[in-house]
Every structure is written in structure tokens, then in C-alpha cells.
Symmetry: C2
Amino acid sequence: MAQRSQPVTSVGKMRCISCRDEYLASDAGTCKECYEEASETEEELKREIEDLKSKISFLTWLSPVDDHHRPSSVLSFTDVVLVATDDQSPPVPAHKAILVSRSPVFKAMLESEMEESRSGTIKISDVSYNVLRSFVHYLYTAEATLDENMALDLLVLAERYQVKHLKAYCEQFMTSKVNGENALISFAFANQHNAKHLMEASLSMVMDNMDKLTKQDEYKELVEKDPRLVVGIYEAYLSKQVNTAAVATEYL
Amino acid sequence: MAQRSQPVTSVGKMRCISCRDEYLASDAGTCKECYEEASETEEELKREIEDLKSKISFLTWLSPVDDHHRPSSVLSFTDVVLVATDDQSPPVPAHKAILVSRSPVFKAMLESEMEESRSGTIKISDVSYNVLRSFVHYLYTAEATLDENMALDLLVLAERYQVKHLKAYCEQFMTSKVNGENALISFAFANQHNAKHLMEASLSMVMDNMDKLTKQDEYKELVEKDPRLVVGIYEAYLSKQVNTAAVATEYL
């Protein structure tokens, strides 16, 4: 009781303004002024986020393809359709102005006298109806529901039509899913589609599992298909070992 | 020197992790753990802001009217023009799909068999060419360069075409500009256009300057034009005085 009534300083304990717990001087964080400043900054950042979200909601189009891939009623003034040529699926309606604004490839296609511009039909090969709908939905809303396959397919499409924002979005998702099992496939995929972050993350994961590398079926396939890429893995591994050894020597 | 070599606790001083200054226990803010958590939160919020900004930049259309009100080259596939009927100005081109997506009034107009839908021309009265261009620019980009007059004109237009986001944007700007000089006009304007925040801010400013109220020309005009609104000011003032008196009595 006597201790409690003494000023906090004399027992070296203070009460944290944020969590309300007592702490020792050795666990001190900030002074009051900096705490208040930080709280204000946080409030300001949160307000900015609210403003940006409201701006996004204003700018987002109602997509002619909705989240659940059902036909949407928002088809006002569409003037072009996209068709997946691989299956007998219905055309996906869209606005030329949106396609042109989102993709330099569509821009070149639709603003010239190309076949697509005249017919109002854009044929897209090597893509399923579902992926095409997700692609169009993203062009209107900057949103997509991803799983590993969808991310892979959309990244390929985003690269083909130079929709950078979507490519980065898929790449970020795929990078978060890299593991010991899929690292080699991811690395080969990233290399093929020039996805730098995914390439780094998967190469790093491959190198963390070098003992299992040659036992994988995918490894044998890759040696067959793209031996140079496999050489790249070994070179990176060797360079990492040399660096590690150099650092270790420094500390000897 | 002896003091310096002692642990910080014994002299009751600590060093702030954030500003690096020494402080006394009585000026303590947070513990270390909470400081680190707050820093992480700040980093996360900043990352979120970056993501949102990149999304906005993807979703923003190149406007057919650029910031400096020069004709823009981005006029692909426009299918409607807006015309300010008050002056002999050129039509402002736009996309029906954009107008419909941003304004329920344009939606009703263009999706029905109204004159505007058939002719592809929307006539807008009581608006200058410059204001109309800024209005259209905002529909594409959620951005406008405001001064007091532009904010006022755009708010009126935003209300007429039910573009809530723009109305809120103008109202926020006008609220930040309320002062003793313009409070009465702002209050009358806000009342006429149902701008609640601006109404509150300007009423509060009017009440802070009650001694000058009846001396203003605008006051006489308002009594002439809308005496009920002036009664509203007096009622609010009286109610505030009564409340202030009640609080004062409580502390007696």
C-alpha cells in the first residue's frame, strides 16, 4: 500500500496511456507528446482511407458481370462483346470506352480499323468463360475473387492485354501462396510471364528445399523443357552458398 | 557525470523512442510494446493508402475534359454531348454509360425514351461552360479544382443531378471557407440546398457574430426574402443562451 501511494517515478513504474498497464522505465516507449502526435496521425490516416474508399465507390462501375458470375442487369449502352472462343459460351458484353481506358492492347485494337473494331466482337482464345467474365469484371471494379487457378489464368490474360494493375494483383496473391510443394512450378511460371516478385519468392523457396529438388517430377520436366532455367537455379544456389561462406569467414 | 552513468529510472528520466528526447515519468506516454504496435499499425495504414490510391488510378477515367479545361484527345466512343444553354459554347462530349453510372437523374433520362436519349444531346440551363466542363470532369475522375464560386455552382449542379459524392466534396470545401463575413449567405445557401454540415458550421459562425448581424446588408435582404429562416437563427441563438445559462447555474 505504501508503495502505491508514492509517485510512480520513485518505484520506476509508469502506466501506459494506451494499454493502461504498468511498465518499468526500461520498457518505456514514447513520451506523452509523441503518443498524442501518433494518435492524431493514426486518426488522419484513417480519415484519408475513408475518403479514398468513398472515391473508389464513386469511381467503380457497376460491372456488366457481377461477382457471382450471373448476368447483371447493368448492361446500359454496351457496344462490344468479348467471346471465349474455346467453349460454346455466351458473349460477355462491355463498353469499348472501358476496355480502351484499361488496356493499351484493347485501345490499339478498338481505335484502329481492325476487324474487332468493325464487328464489335473481340475473340479471346485459350481462356474459359469463367475466367473471361472475371477479367471483364475486374476491368470495371478492380476486384476479383481469386483462387490459385484463377490467379494464374487472370495473370496470363492481364499480361496479354497489358492490364498492369490486375497482373500485380494476381502476382501478389500467388506470391502469398508459394510453398515447398509448388515453388518450382511457380518459379517456372513467373519466369515465363515476367513476374519478378513471384520469381524471387519462389526461387528463394526452391533454394530452401534444395534437398528435395531433384526428386520432384516437375524438376525432371523442367530440365527437359527449359534446362537454362534449371541452370539459373543452381547458379543462384551456388552464389548464395559462396556469400554465406564469406559472411561466416568474416565472423571467424 | 555520476548521474549520467546511473540507470535512467533512478533519476526519473527516460528517452522517448520516437523523438529521442529525455522526458520525466510524469510526461510518459506509452510502453515499448504499445509503441511498436502503433508503429506497425501506421505502416499498415500507409500501405493500405498506397493500395487504395493505385486502385483509384486504375479506376479513374481519362476525362474528355482535362484539368485545364482544354479539349482532351480522349474522346473515344463518346455517344452523348452536354450543352450549356446559357452561352454560345461548344458541346461537351461524354459517354452515356458514365453519366448513367454516376447520376440517377441521367440514368432515368438516358435509359428512357426521353428527348435526350433520342437526340444524344443533354441541354443544361443556368450553368456556364466552365462549370459544366468541371462537372463532367468530376464524373470521370472524382476531382475538381475549386474556388468559392466553383464550389457553389458545382454544388447546385450536383444536387440537381443527384451526384452525392460531388455535393459532399463541394460542401466540405465551402464549410472550410465559412467566416464572419460570409456566414449569413452561406447559411441561407446551405438551407436552400439542403447542405447540413455547411448549415451547422455557418449557423454557428452567425451566432458567434450576433452583434454584427443586423448591420449587414445580407441580413436585410434575408429578412425580406426568407423571414422564417431569420426567425430560425434567433431561435437557435435563444436556445443556446438558455442552455449556456443552465450550465452556468449548475456550476454555481
